[in-house]
């Protein structure tokens, strides 16, 4: 434990080398409990799932240990009940399309509301920013389910929005907003908005306002300065925020379940269905791995964007 805090790289030499090796060993030992727990209860199950994706579904859920690629095939295709020909699984495709569409719409909506908010916070006096940041962060750390329920309260047929609209007399009958794609998009925008604000704020915070001044000196209007100077400079933050919003949207489960009901499924709900009523664990496993792969691609892109940004600084 004593060589724990060795900060300077040791000079090459037999003694130091041995010391370094011992240091390495103790570091590995220290990290071991965390690695074992995550390995066993997060990483290993993913590998088991990879195996399950190649098995045959059992009659009452679970699997039969017989190799099959049907799980993967039925991610996109389905067999005709009568003549066994393969055709596109329209039900799945429409769910993928809904997931993609709603995730994109949510990302755009969080951009529309998030970028001005981030800009607003970053242009406050420095000592007041902590307060505004705090205001954005608190909802993010509060329970996701509770925030989803709050949205439900708002848009139910007897909810506050309908109540107000009826009172004013704009509508005669409550608008059905629950259990629609609108409800899911609305809810996800609300729930994931802080994920957009924080990275964009970080980018605006780093913005050199002298460049904006220069643009104004050169007779650029506010809009031109924004479009030609500010936007390119805060683009990495915007991309980072967009990916941070897009990823959880794609894998969302709670929000579409509560606000979308049983009909408007998203990717996450389709996965759950296979482990519940669908009784097709291999398909569920294959769907999960597909979702994971898409998310990984987005994450790698995110890492590349943010590390490039770091290099620029």
């Amino acid at each position: 434990m004593s060589d724990m805090a060795l900060n300077t790289p040791p000079e090459p030499g037999a003694l130091e080398l041995e010391e370094a090796q011992q240091d390495n060993r103790s570091r590995w030992l220290l990290a071991l409990p965390a690695m074992v727990i995550i390995g066993c209860f997060a990483t290993l199950p993913l590998l088991v799932m990879l195996v399950y994706a190649f098995l045959t579904p059992g009659d009452y859920g679970n699997v039969v240990w017989k190799f099959s690629t049907d799980g993967w095939v039925s991610v996109l295709l389905q067999r005709d009940i009568f003549d066994d020909t393969l055709m596109w699984a329209d039900a799945h495709l429409s769910i993928f399309w809904r997931s993609l569409r709603l995730s994109l719409i949510t990302t755009i909506l969080t951009l529309i509301f998030g970028v001005p908010t981030a800009w607003f916070i970053a242009t406050r006096p420095r000592e007041k920013r902590q307060f505004w940041l705090f205001l954005v962060t608190v909802p993010f750390w509060t329970n996701l389910l509770v925030r989803t329920i709050a949205i439900q309260e708002l848009i139910r047929s007897e909810g506050v929005i309908n109540l107000i609209l009826l009172k004013i007399g704009i509508i005669d009958e409550p608008i059905q907003m629950m259990f629609t794609d609108f409800a899911i998009g609305f809810g996800m925008t609300y729930v994931y908005l802080p994920l957009m604000v924080l990275p964009v704020y970080a980018a605006v915070d780093k913005l050199d306002f002298r460049l904006v001044e220069a643009a104004h000196d050169l007779y650029a209007g506010r809009w031109t300065a924004f479009r030609r100077v500010i936007l390119p400079l805060i683009k990495p933050g915007i991309i980072a925020g967009s990916i941070l919003v897009f990823i959880p949207c794609l894998g969302a489960y709670v929000t579409p379940r509560v606000l979308g009901g049983g009909k408007n499924l998203m990717f996450g709900n389709l996965i759950e269905l296979q482990f519940g009523a669908g009784r097709n664990w291999p398909l569920g496993a294959a769907l999960s791995l597909t979702l994971m792969a898409i998310v990984m691609v987005a994450l790698i892109y995110y890492v590349r964007v943010t590390s490039r940004e770091r290099e620029d600084v």
Binding site: A5, L6, R27, P33, M35, P45, W132, T142, L193, L198
Partner: protein, 290 residues
């Protein structure tokens, strides 16, 4: 890779280095003003809090209806407090969060000690990647993967207890506990520890009397973050729990399928308030270091 994970960015934004702001623009014309941005921002802050406020307000409604305000009452809180299933779920939630956050922060502290204040060593990237792995996979995927493995173990052994949930929660809490602890360690230099060693303190004494007290705020922050994360989890809990092992979030999710009563609002309000207190404390503790 580890520095850029989901919650990493959350915490990093908090400690952004002040940029050179340069000379101020002449008064009356600010280059940092963009038309409409402040209006949208204020609306956004309003929109972030309004739904929560409405939820809280209706938890005090005397009537059964969620729509019509019938006067102030604590009736739904009393009902929730008298509901055995709610109390049972609340106790389970607290035990689960307490156990998971404790184990997670101990593991995370050890891992942070191993990965900070060092030159690059063989396998450090691998340790980073593994510790942050739960953050990189969608929750629903982890949830069904655990369902598969635990269903298998449960069938094999016939053993069902809270341990499955504690194991699952600990695993996804570790990266959250790790972040503030590592952040704290990275801002500590080792002069005091070197001094303690120079004064013939044994390695254990150095750790107990110098290192641990210095990193304590980070550990507390990590514990609280892990506690909140565990308390809030629905997805993984829903798939891992055995029959009858409801936590507060899964209980509420189950209730939403039936007729929603203001009782759910009352429980939500309690969760909101306790969560807000924990998060504020977290900010306060992690603020100390600056």
């Amino acid at each position: 890779m580890s520095e850029t994970t989901l919650s990493g960015s959350k915490i990093e934004t908090e400690t952004v280095v002040p940029a050179a702001s340069g000379k101020k623009a002449p008064k009356g014309y600010s280059v940092s003003t963009l038309p409409g941005f402040s209006v949208v921002a204020i609306f956004t802050f309003f929109a972030l809090y309004a739904p929560i406020m409405i939820l809280v307000l209706y938890s005090f409604n005397a009537g059964t209806s969620l729509a019509i305000w019938e006067g102030f009452s604590l009736r739904w809180y009393v009902q929730a407090a008298g509901n055995e299933r709610v109390i049972d779920a609340a106790i389970r939630s607290l035990i689960l969060a307490g156990a998971s956050a404790t184990i997670a922060s101990i593991c995370a502290t050890m891992a942070a000690l191993a990965t900070t204040r060092t030159r690059r060593f063989k396998g450090r990237t691998m340790i980073y990647a593994l510790i942050n792995q739960p953050l990189m996979v969608p929750e629903i995927v982890t949830a069904v993967a655990l369902l598969i493995v635990f269903a298998w173990i449960k069938v094999m052994t016939g053993y069902t207890s809270l341990l499955y949930l504690i194991a699952a929660h600990t695993a996804f809490c570790i990266p959250f506990a790790y972040l503030p602890i590592r952040a704290r360690l990275e801002t500590m230099d080792d002069t005091l520890e070197v001094a303690a060693r120079d004064l013939y303190a044994s390695p254990m004494q150095v750790f107990r009397r110098v290192t641990l007290p210095l990193m304590w705020p980070g550990i507390i922050a990590g514990f609280m973050l892990a506690f909140v994360i565990s308390l809030d989890d629905v997805v993984i809990t829903e798939f891992v729990k055995s029959a009858g092992q409801e936590t507060i979030p899964t209980y509420m999710l189950g209730q939403l399928r039936r007729v929603v009563t203001p009782e759910v609002n009352a429980i939500s309000t309690i969760i909101l308030v306790s969560g807000a207190i924990l998060v504020s404390l977290f900010f306060w503790v992690s603020r100390e270091r600056r």
